[in-house]
């Protein structure tokens, strides 16, 4: 049996009644989920004014993460694809509203209404192609596109995930950037195999001071220093500029130039040859195509 649940079955089947109950009664999982949610809330960096916000919990499952949100008095809307998990959430009488929905089909929300989104251990499921109609890239695009739309400008989304490998993490990050998000990956406890946690921290809207990436946590409780010697040490990957830099126009002093061409054309006209008129396209350099 594979150790990753993603490789076992699609989420709506993997989290069946039995699994949902196991998940919610294991004190270890409850503790981990609680801690992850607290950390995600910290990274979400909501304004510290005590006003409850409207948050989104993507892949809320049985509402373990939502409980932490309710403790902070936020209102939340949770969505999950597994009906059994939502049934357990109902039994536990969570405070948020629940939706049975598939994040890969896009979020069914109006634009610009959500103050922040968190997701605990869910987004990596998007990379699965469980049905022939599932195309991970399209599902990621639908998810991030709709997430970008439903968030208010300047709001953040913190997605904790378990990527299978570097390539998968890169695919998810690239898809988020393509949808217009700024931000990057924060890796907590980068030197520990077990405690290592990936958070995708995304900011909606143009890059600004507030979209600077938070520091990652390390074992001794201090944040990882930015100025470590090698790139291997510093595991906070930042992708702050979502636009590619403009191509620099090469200054090429070689070639005859427009003046020369226009002069030659004039000479040919005087000789009585038929010469095309001088336009803005005359002697313009072509792009370097193959």
């Amino acid at each position: 049996m594979p150790s990753r649940p993603e490789l076992t079955a699609p989420p709506e089947f993997f989290y069946n009644e039995e699994e949902a109950r196991k998940y919610t009664t294991s004190s270890r999982i409850i503790e981990i989920q609680g801690k992850l949610t607290e950390r995600a809330l910290e990274l979400l960096a909501l304004p510290d004014d005590g006003v409850p916000r409207l948050l989104l919990d993507i892949g809320c499952g049985s509402g373990l993460s939502g409980e932490t949100l309710s403790e902070k008095e936020h209102h939340w809307i949770g969505l999950d694809i597994s009906k059994s998990m939502l049934d357990v959430a109902l039994e536990r009488e969570v405070d948020g509203d629940l939706l049975l929905a598939d994040m890969g089909q896009g979020l069914t929300l109006r634009p610009g209404v959500i103050d922040g989104a968190i997701s605990i251990s869910a987004v990596q499921w998007l990379c699965n192609a469980d049905k022939s109609s599932n195309e991970p890239r399209l599902r990621l695009k639908a998810f991030f596109g709709s997430l970008y739309r439903c968030l208010t400008r300047g709001a953040r989304a913190v997605l904790q995930l378990y990527p299978e490998n570097e390539a998968q993490l890169e695919m998810i990050t690239a898809s988020a950037m393509r949808s217009g998000f700024a931000g990057g990956v924060v890796v907590d406890f980068p030197h520990s195999t077990r405690a290592k946690k990936y958070f995708l921290v995304l900011t909606c809207g143009p890059p600004s001071l507030s979209s600077a990436l938070p520091k990652a946590k390390s074992e001794d409780g201090e944040s990882c220093s930015d100025d470590s010697d090698s790139d291997e040490e510093n595991k906070t990957v930042s992708i702050s500029d979502r636009r590619r830099p403009r191509k620099k126009q090469k200054v090429n002093k070689k070639g005859k130039g427009r003046e020369w061409v226009v002069k030659k054309k004039e000479q040919m006209r005087k000789k009585g040859h038929s010469v095309p008129p001088d336009t803005k396209y005359t002697a313009r350099k072509r792009k370097a195509h193959f």
């Binding site: 409207l54 209102h75 809307i77 929905a101 929300l109 109006r110 109609s133 639908a142």
Partner: protein
């Protein structure tokens, strides 16, 4: 499902340009008391589509909300109380949400709307 969530939901079936507001069909509803927090209400007010909220509250048999609302009305405690009650205390338990363009029915069971789409609707 609270009316707060109903006010945020919109249908995203392929080809639908305006999936909001989803028409609300109520078979069973409950009321749960929640503490009133004026700050939250003031914060959420600009994001609420008022007409959709009024229509939804009528569907739930709560006709107290005024037809039009302005930010200045948020200072009145009486208004806040009604707004709070409609937004956060009324729950739809059983019923359906209906897409305004296609008429597609999203059933609500035990307070959870089923927003899953069929493959040909994505």
């Amino acid at each position: 499902m609270r009316l707060l969530t109903h006010n945020m939901l919109s249908s995203n079936i392929k080809g639908v340009t305006n999936g909001f507001p989803l028409r609300l069909q109520v078979e069973k509803s409950v009321e749960k008391e929640v503490d009133l927090n004026p700050d939250f209400l003031k914060n959420i007010f600009p994001k609420i589509e008022w007409k959709a909220l009024v229509d939804a509250s009528h569907a739930l048999g709560y006709p107290e909300l005024p037809d039009d609302a302005e930010p200045s009305m948020l200072d009145s405690h009486d208004f806040l109380k009604k707004f709070h009650h409609a937004l956060l205390e009324l729950h739809v338990e059983e019923g359906a949400l209906i897409c305004p363009e296609t008429g597609r029915n999203f059933p609500i069971n035990k307070g959870i709307p089923n927003m899953l789409l069929h493959e040909d609707e994505v």
